[in-house]
Amino acid sequence: MSILGAFEVGKKSLSAAQQGQQTTGHNIANVDTEGFSRQEVLQTSAQPNNGGRGNGVDIQGIRRHTDGFTKEKVIGEQTKVGSWETREKVLNEAEIIFTDLEGNRLRGSLDEFWDAWNNLGHEPESVTMRKNLLSKASALADRFNIFDGRLKELQGNLNGRIKAKILEVNQAARQIAELNKQVEQLEKQGRPANDARDAREKMLQDLSTLVEVRYFENERGTMEVQIPNGQAIVHGRTAYEMTALTNAELKGDFRLGLKTPTGQEADVTDIVTGGAIKEYITQRDTNVRQYQQNIDLLAKELAFQVNSIHAGGTGINALQTTETSAYSLNPEALDQPLPFLQNGAFEIKLYDKDQNQDLTINVQVEAGKDSVRSLVEKINRAAGSYEVDAEGNEKLKENPLFLANIGADGAVHLKADQGHQFHYNGDSSNALAVLGFNGFFQALGGAGDIRVNQELLDDEMKIATGHNMTPGDNSVATAMTDLRMKGVLGSSGDLSFDEFYNVQITDIGLKVQDSQKGLSNHSDMLQQYEALRDSVSSVNLDEEMANMVKYQRAYESSARYMSTVDQMTQTLINM
């Protein structure tokens, strides 16, 4: 045994204390680092030599405190929180569009629209009330347009966010691949890759917020990240790109794609079941789309119902000489039976220039049978516009009193002969509204393009309040006020416009509440799992302080030991 051996023991001891202190310092330094796992110096007593004398301490390595099980839980929960957070965010934004508790947006405009009809029902002769109705109706149409615009904007936003989130996924995947490389290289050299692993786990956690993933570590220490069907996002040192898929059918809507090792893009939207991206897609395709459809439905049904009452009525002194239908159809649709018809009849009254009634055109309509073409023929037949020529063939007269025809543009044109004028007088068949005559609203697409018939805006006297041009007749106006309470919407057709809108409000309110609860539940869960994980991996300063003191004392003792051994050596030398 040599005294120098004792020096060796002292040196190792000093080094161990130093290393321990350094690790403590590292831990303290990273006390707030997200994803950091506390480290600990592993010491063992050194291999004793031949005589069995102790050989001091050896440093075996630096260990990371981590627990695979809680880590997995955290990552799984992170995906759920990602989903719920996204859902809550999207629904909150949609809710803002619907928030109208003061009653001055869509619903308020709807109220004012009905009230304006009600006013007109009391004073059908009043020009003021007519102008008032037009302004309220235009405001309502604007509200619908704005509402639709906002929902469309939200939809566009969601697509933008999907694209941005996909970029984030790719970035995280690339970093994981990069870290895989570091871990593999370091560990191959036998060096610990603790911090690279921590960073990798942090990246994984970020990734799992966006996309639901499966992961495992293989024997080389690299982390394999996959979507639920096993398709790789990260394989060893390679990251596979996620893409925002779109095509003509999707009309600018994005879906989630993932490039396969062969470079093809696969649509994995339906495979991924959780995470922010999937939730954005889901919300866009379910709730947001549904609200949009419902608002469209509301606008269209309102326009149709109002039109079908309005079409059969007449205004004051509102005779016309020609009118073109608001809708035009493709040539092949002209012979198809028209939808929404009812068995009934409509009437057109023709007047000569002295306003004497000349001709009443009464057309019987068969639901599910009549097409645009057959209706046009019926109108002409009822108007007596056909004649039999010398060969016995039936043909249209050259200058009939009244003529209906289908223009090259696919629209139906009605024309009274020179000096004659006409008005509509009652329509129990909806045919005039379906063809688009004498309408109040025009709404081809729905909420996005609903507007008041320009002809009425130009001449408010054309607003139909009654029949037969009787100025005080309020029958159409009161029918409108009855329509306000009538059940026309919903699956069983018993919801009024107001009720239908209410259903939307309640629906979004409940969904937001639901998403808030879901988010809060899963956040709590995540917090608990994180607490569990932290209890293993996170730094406790008190512990570190204790360790610091411990290593300080160890260092002091080692130093003292060294100086003692030194003194012993001195003694030996001085002997």
Partner: protein, 568 residues
């Protein structure tokens, strides 16, 4: 469990975050006074709030409408009350006129005065509210009552058999009637069948022909040269029929002899053949072309009248016989009569009595189903029916047997001196005053002044007044008295309309109250759902603040102490 600094930190920040959120919610609520700020705060409540807002707005709007409706009703009420007063005044004057003691001249003065007041009455009924007429139904731009001083000619319909030539003969000279040759006529023979009804035995079977007589109808034949004027043809026809009856004298006949058929040129320039009552008629062979040239047609023949074939008739109609005259036309149960159709109330005056025979009249008030007993219509007679309605019919029967010749010299006229015509409509404007409740707003002039089907007590006020004016002018005390009872009816009618208006005003007012109540109630409910209970809110806020502060305190103590502070 091992507690780490991260754990502590996360727990503290999560809890403080929750507290802060709660505080934020309460603060928003306290600052705007609402606990319901977005649908998710109370999804069902949010929908209810919408409904309450709608209900309140709607009620406010309806309240405004009811205000304007009341203006209309008040104007109506004012006008009707003026009208009633005027009618009362008229009745007083009528009573004055009915007084037997007053002289004829004074009645005449009263008559003119009443006439003037009647005109005022029409002006009152034409009152407007703003630019809209009060009493014209929904035709609010149309003046409801117009005075029409034109005499309305009776709508007279022939209800019997006549044979009329389609071709009109225009007399060149009033004094020298038709003497031109009938165009298209050739020399030849014209056969006419005019047969009396068969004589029946006790069983109702026709008796066999007398001995020596031929069975079957016998035509009367006229030979024409083809160059006769129409007048000459008429003469030949009449002569032939007089001859067929054996020149039997008949003082009542226009030609002085008994005849089965009388031919004449009417005042309208058409040739008429009038068979005697109950006789059947048909054209026989005609080689002259006369029938064709004149284009005869049958009047008074309707499709549902069963045609009985002339007994034993042979088909002797030639090619030239006009269509649709092949069938013999029997006079079965009816004689040639005129029907006069009334319009509303009517007054028929025969201003010129018939030249021949007498006339009777029957009245039907059920559209012709049943008729009253015939009464003789005298010269200057009047058929007056104050309760007339559009379906009423007056039928004048000229029943001198065998002599239906009455055309000239008789005039019919429905006469009402001056007609007051209603130009509005009967549509009553219904206005919505509450959820689904509608109230009738306008009163129409017919409700106040006219005879209406649905109200048997109603009278045509202006007819009554016309009669009153007339009878005062004519100094007929009896008739004046009669019209006073009608005036009572007219006044009652007005009062009925007025009370109706009153009940509408009441209905509006009660609806107004209901709306106010509804608004108050809904406003209360609304506040219940969406408004913050400020006291409770303040309390909650305090609690939340306290909680937050405590949490902060505790956190400060929890996070602060570490071993660091104790290591020197």
């Amino acid at each position: 469990m091992r507690v780490t600094d991260q754990t502590k930190h996360k727990a503290v920040s999560a809890n403080l975050g929750k507290n802060a959120e709660e505080l934020q919610e309460l603060m928003i609520g306290m600052s705007n006074g609402k606990k319901l700020n977005k649908p998710s705060d109370d999804p069902v409540g949010a929908a209810m709030v919408q409904d309450f807002h709608t209900s309140i707005n709607r009620s406010q709007n309806l309240e405004k409408n009811i205000g304007s409706d009341k203006v209309w009703l008040n104007a109506t009420e004012a006008a009707t009350s003026q009208i009633t007063e005027t009618m009362m005044k008229l009745k007083e004057m009528a009573l004055q006129g009915a007084n037997g003691g007053i002289p004829k001249e004074q009645r005449a003065v009263l008559s003119t005065e009443i006439k003037m007041i009647t005109d005022d009455l029409i002006k009152l009924a034409n009152k407007r509210e703003g630019k809209l007429f009060l009493f014209s139904g929904t035709k609010t731009f149309t003046e409801p009552l117009k005075l029409n001083s034109e005499l309305k000619p009776a709508e007279i319909q022939f209800d019997g058999l006549r044979i009329k030539a389609d071709r009109e003969v225009i007399p060149l000279d009033q004094d020298k009637p038709i003497n031109q040759v009938v165009p298209g006529m050739m020399p030849g023979k014209l056969q006419l069948f005019v047969e009396p009804p068969p004589i029946l035995d006790a069983e109702g079977n026709p008796l066999p022909p007398l001995e020596g007589e031929e069975a079957g109808p016998k035509p009367v034949e006229i030979d024409l040269m083809g160059d006769e004027s129409l007048e000459e043809v008429v003469k030949k026809l009449n002569d032939a029929f007089i001859e067929a009856e054996g020149f039997m004298e008949d003082p009542e006949s226009p030609v002085g002899f008994k005849t089965r058929l009388f031919a004449q040129i009417g005042v309208d320039g058409h040739l008429y053949l009038d068979p005697s009552p109950q006789h059947s008629f048909k054209f026989g062979e005609d080689t002259t072309g006369f029938v064709k040239a004149m284009g005869f047609k049958f009047l008074g023949q309707t499709a549902d009248q069963q045609l009985q074939p002339l007994q034993g008739a042979e088909d002797v109609a030639g090619d030239n016989a006009p269509k649709p005259t092949d069938e013999p036309i029997p006079f079965e149960t009816y004689s040639p009569t005129f029907k006069g159709y009334s319009k509303e109330s009517y007054l028929v005056r025969v201003s010129k009595a018939g030249t021949y025979g007498t006339a009777r009249f029957v009245v039907s008030d059920d559209g012709g189903e049943t008729w009253s007993r015939p009464e003789v219509l005298n010269k200057q007679n009047e058929i007056y029916n104050p309760e007339g309605k559009p379906s009423d019919k007056v039928r004048l029967i000229f029943d001198a047997p065998g002599k239906p010749y009455f055309l000239e010299g008789v005039e019919f006229q429905f006469e009402g001196n001056e007609f007051v015509e209603y130009h509005g409509n009967d549509v009553v404007k219904q206005v919505p005053i509450d959820n689904g409740i509608k109230v009738a707003l306008n009163t129409t002039a017919p409700e106040m002044f006219m005879k209406r089907d649905e109200d048997p007590d109603s009278v045509n006020t202006f007819e009554v007044l016309n009669r009153l004016i007339q009878s005062l002018r004519d100094d007929e005390q009896e008739a004046v008295l009669e019209s006073i009872s009608d005036m009572d009816k007219a006044i009652n009618q007005l009062l009925k309309a007025r009370s109706e208006i009153g009940s509408r005003v009441l209905e509006l007012e009660s609806s107004e109250d209901r709306l106010k109540q509804n608004m108050d109630y809904k406003a209360g409910e609304l506040s219940e759902i969406q408004d913050m209970d400020l006291a409770k809110g303040a309390l909650d806020l305090n609690k939340a603040e306290l909680k937050h502060q405590t949490a902060l305190d505790a956190s400060a103590r929890l996070i602060q102490p570490t071993l660091v502070q104790f290591l020197k």
